[in-house]
């Protein structure tokens, strides 16, 4: 073990430290803040890539904070799936941060810009910590940092609708956090431990089955709200469509995924395979809710008139995909779910940033206003089309690979109905995506709606968009680099 075992903790804490130092910089030189904020995230990304290849797909890196071995101290446990997610978090947050610099000058007033970047860094650090932790109370702490920063970032523009959407989000998010805390309390009372690996052992021996079952139910409700699982999704469309676009990209592309990942950790690392009788019923209910989410999100997305609203409903549908992968309880399903977290993150972040480009250049939010958009903004439109193809799941994009494994997993788990639902979901996605693409490329817009010459967003906004959309293509073509290891890691988790 070399010095690299310290990398995960540095990846988590350096963005937090950066966030803490920014207010003073903002006091001295506000114009430097957007540039300096890139440094800690870039540092984390570099460390993340250096870790690549050092963590085996059937093992994990266990780091004992303060040198106290678990269960007495807190453990950071990075397995292959966790590292995969941490890299996705680093990459997408970094691109969204690059995008923010210009965009923010339009939507956020001057006294709030420093706070925006502070919260942005806190959110990224918290997501990394959330994905890496091996202690269940620590999970709660990072979840709270994540929740607080996301509530505030939704409201940061300060206009009427944003504040109301944020308040709605708080009113659903805060009780769900408390439910998670209560669930941790139940778990602790029945086992006396807070470490995930230790919990898994003690749950198998524990006699308090009722307490454990209800604890799992509370976890599902709590994280279900955070991940916007179907009947608990009410906060999502408003919050995601009203937030500034880079924040929508993070909320939609990462935050809901990370919450789903937390439930994955609870389901597979805390409640081990032997405890299937404890959580089986609840997991079945989650499967039903997820299938409903796929259909509901797809249909609602078709009905929307506002572009960001449509993308937000599409997110609800895709969260359903991820949960269907989890509840299949097969290695293929799990692989599909984790891969879908990545490609949905890339594609959704790209779509929201494209929507941001339209708002930045023209101030257009409604889908109808996009008719003929390609004449003025070809780069944005092509990136949007590429990301849409990944959302639908057409080869050779990453969306195809993940949907393939999701369906395969559900077929292996003999859940034929869910496999059909996944296919129908793709058809719905095709309907709502192609409508926008059709408007953009094949319809003439209103007179004077678009200029005839190329006048796209500035390069600092186009580069992130294109890197994200090419990312979906890259992970579609070169999926063989990742998928075998992911399959192995998933089999190790099960």
């Amino acid at each position: 073990m070399g010095a690299w075992r310290h990398f995960p903790i540095l990846m988590i804490t350096v963005p937090l430290l950066g966030a803490v130092l920014l207010p003073f910089l903002g006091y001295l030189r506000e114009s430097w803040v957007p540039h300096v904020a890139l440094l800690p995230l870039g540092f984390s990304t570099v460390l993340g890539f250096l870790l690549l290849g050092r963590i085996p797909s059937d093992g994990y890196l266990s780091y004992h904070l303060g040198g106290w071995e678990p269960p007495h101290g807190i453990e950071i446990r990075v397995d292959y799936v966790g590292l995969f997610l941490m890299l996705a978090i680093c990459g997408i947050t970094l691109l969204a941060l690059v995008f923010s610099r210009h965009y923010i000058s339009k939507e956020v007033s001057r006294g709030r810009r420093t706070a925006y970047f502070v919260l942005f860094l806190l959110m990224s650090g918290a997501m990394l910590g959330f994905a890496a932790t091996g202690d269940i109370f620590n999970l709660f702490v990072f979840m709270e940092i994540l929740a607080l920063s996301s509530y505030a970032l939704v409201a940061i523009t300060g206009n009427r609708n944003a504040v109301r959407a944020a308040f709605k989000y708080v009113l659903m998010g805060a009780p769900s956090s408390i439910m998670v805390l209560l669930a941790i309390g139940f778990l602790y009372s029945a086992t006396g431990s807070l470490n995930m690996a230790d919990l898994a052992q003690r749950i198998a021996e524990s006699g308090y089955t009722e307490v454990l079952t209800v604890s799992y139910i509370l976890f599902v409700i709590g994280f279900g709200v955070k991940a916007a699982l179907f009947p608990l999704h009410m906060w999502l469309p408003d919050a995601h469509s009203i937030a500034p676009s880079p924040i929508s990209a993070l909320l939609s592309g990462l935050l809901v995924e990370v919450s789903a990942f937390a439930l994955l950790r609870i389901t597979f690392s805390v409640f081990p395979r032997g405890a299937a009788d404890l959580i089986g019923g609840t997991a079945d209910a989650v499967g039903v809710a997820a299938a409903a989410a796929v259909l509901y999100g797809g249909i609602m997305a078709i009905l929307q008139k506002d572009l960001k609203m449509m993308i937000a409903y599409s997110t609800i549908s895709h969260i359903g995909y991820i949960f269907l992968g989890l509840t299949a309880f097969t290695a293929e399903g799990l692989t599909g779910a984790v891969y879908h977290m990545l490609d949905h993150g890339l594609a959704k972040a790209c779509l929201f940033l494209c929507a941001g480009n339209f708002i930045y250049v023209k101030g257009y939010r409604r889908i109808e206003e996009l008719k003929g958009a390609w004449r003025q903004m070809p780069w944005t439109c092509f990136a949007f089309a590429l990301a849409s193809i990944s959302v639908i799941g057409i080869p050779p994009t990453a969306g195809f690979i993940s949907k393939w494994y999701l369906i395969l997993g559900n077929v292996r788990g003999e859940k034929w109905l869910y496999a059909c639902v996944l296919l129908i979901g793709s058809i719905l996605a095709a309907v709502y995506c192609f409508r926008v693409i059709y408007y953009m490329f094949f319809q003439a817009g209103r007179e004077g709606a678009w200029e005839d010459s190329w006048n796209d967003a500035p390069p600092s906004m186009l580069t992130p968009v294109w890197m994200l959309s090419l990312g979906t293509l890259f992970f579609g073509i070169f999926s063989y680099l990742v998928i075998p290891s992911l399959l192995k890691a998933a089999a190790f988790l099960l």
Partner: protein
């Protein structure tokens, strides 16, 4: 019988449900926040009760204190974190309330939502 013995837990759960009721049903947003705080406090109470020991003493090692008779210190340490989290959420929610009241002039949830519909129809008329 176990229910009677665990009366602390029962009280915590009843408080939890009262808090949730307040959050969901009350129309005044400040009262909703109070309900949120009741929920949080009930969970803190639940955790502290988990650490209770019959005839226990404070976990401070002074003199010849007997470690086996001390109450469980871990829930207390966790709840310190929990309290800070609750304070933070309340601070954020209150600042949102300040802004909401300034922009809408009301603290009533139903009226806030009605304003939403009105502003939407106004927008539509503006565009159409």
């Amino acid at each position: 019988m176990r229910l009677l013995h665990n009366y602390h837990y029962v009280a915590a759960m009843v408080l939890f449900c009262i808090g949730l009721y307040t959050v969901i049903v009350r129309r005044n947003i400040v009262k909703k926040l109070i309900g949120l705080n009741i929920m949080e406090t009930s969970v803190f109470f639940f955790f502290i009760s988990l650490g209770y020991l019959d005839g226990g003493m404070a976990p401070i090692r002074v003199g010849k204190a007997d470690p086996s008779r001390m109450v469980n210190p871990l829930p207390q340490a966790l709840i310190l974190t929990g309290i800070v989290v609750a304070v933070s959420v309340t601070a954020l929610a209150l600042s949102l309330v300040i802004l909401l009241y300034r922009q809408y002039g009301t603290l009533d949830v139903d009226r806030l939502m009605r304003e939403e519909e009105q502003s939407e129809t106004a927008e539509r008329e503006e565009r159409g």
